[in-house]
Amino acid sequence: MATIDISYLSLGIGLLLLLIPIYYIWHYETKLLKSICIGAVRMVIQMIFIGVYLRYLFEWNNPVVNCLWVFIMVYIAAETALTRTKVRRKILMMPLIVGFVTASVLIGAYFLGIVLQLNNVFSAQYFIPIMGILLGNMLSVNVIAVGTFYSTLQREQNLYYYLLGNGATRGEALQPFIRQAIVKAFSPAIANMAVMGLVSLPGTMIGQILGGSSPDVAIKYQIMIVVITMSASMLSLIIAICLSARQAFDGYGRMRKIFKC
């Protein structure tokens, strides 16, 4: 059963629905008007380009090109996280890249190689979408968690210094802040996981069903997608926080300048 195509005219008609959030954003003077308009335009342009790129990536199906493509995605994700968290490049850029690459490689290889048992884990059909979904989730979790971690640390540095001054190691003194960051970043995902199938029918599953897969296959993929995105997000987050903390404090454990001016 082929999926019904959406014509460009129909897509344009569909996009009109965005007028609803745009109206309320404008009406309540939320200052998000510019962001949502730029975001919507960017989304359309980027998706048009990705359609073209993916066509070629799938045609070539070359492991080196696929890996290069994923590395470009990692770099863009790290740049985006850096911009959104406003943490200084010197502190956060490398830890984010290391976190994203490590988590993508480990979790991606586990899923593609062990769970799906693919002969070629670099097959564009699986490798590119799986890495894309992993990176998308890692990006949102890292933006929330790293942002929360450093802004809470900055705001409540007395607590950090209290713990340090009473004999805690730097790792122990950072624990309450890491805890808060994890809670804030993972609570929505955990809540969502708990009602999946009851309240929400998630994107991957819908996509597969629309693409002609049977619901049996779609639910198995969806379960695995939730599991791998959560694991990769946590792994990348812990790596990013632990590595960036090495740059964020001096030899005495005092906080350096964390945020860009």
Partner: protein, 207 residues
């Protein structure tokens, strides 16, 4: 016990302290006093390496404070900042967390001692079952002293321990700290409360 040798503390162009020296003997009940912004808190934090020094050195016991020794020094100090917000929901959680950083594993063993400390500071042990949001600022300050006393550290560094306390509560705190001093603890407190200062054995005036 604590020797400050010709230190300067600069924050950018602002020179908070210049070529300042002082010392605190073992068993002293010392008070750092002076007008607002003269560097009292910065000096207190410098004892545990939390304030960068432009020059000079600080010795704590047998250790010259530096990047290698600061962690050892901090295992011998109790530090209570003036303002502190806790992520803990309950007082019990806070006690557990503080004992954990003090490497005290048997929390049950500490309960009688903690209750004793709370009574000495004019507080009831019922406080332990309350939420952090339910207790007042003054109760929180005294409770922190009661909890930190369990760590049994040699050096106490306290930032304004009697701020926001009424006269009765302030006397409880002074008596409690003097008792700790008599047990051999060295106490260094920042204060601009002249009544508190009058009870100290060593006054370091930064004015």
């Amino acid at each position: 016990m604590l020797v400050v040798d010709d230190i300067s503390i600069h924050f950018g162009d602002e020179h908070v302290l210049d070529h300042f020296s002082c010392h605190v003997k073992k068993g002293d009940f010392a008070c750092i006093t002076g007008k607002s912004g003269c560097g009292k808190t910065s000096l207190l934090k410098a004892f545990i390496g939390l304030t960068p020094l432009a020059n000079g050195a600080i010795r704590v016991g047998e250790y010259i404070l530096n990047e290698q020794t600061c962690n050892i020094v901090r295992t011998k100090t109790t530090y209570l900042p003036q303002e502190l917000s806790f992520p803990n929901d309950t007082v019990e959680e806070l006690v557990g967390q503080t004992l954990k950083i003090g490497r005290i594993k048997n929390v049950q063993m500490c309960t009688p001692k903690l209750c004793d400390n709370l009574h000495k500071l004019g507080l009831d042990e019922e406080l332990l079952s309350k939420g952090m949001a339910e207790i007042s600022g003054g109760q929180r300050q005294r409770m922190m002293l009661a909890v930190l006393a369990l760590l049994d550290k040699d050096i106490w560094l306290l930032d304004e321990p009697t701020a926001a306390l009424d006269e009765t509560s302030r006397n409880y705190v002074i008596d409690f700290l003097r008792e700790q001093q008599q047990q051999g603890k060295t106490i260094v407190a920042v204060s601009h409360d002249m009544y508190f200062v009058s009870h100290c054995t060593n006054v370091i005036n930064l004015e």
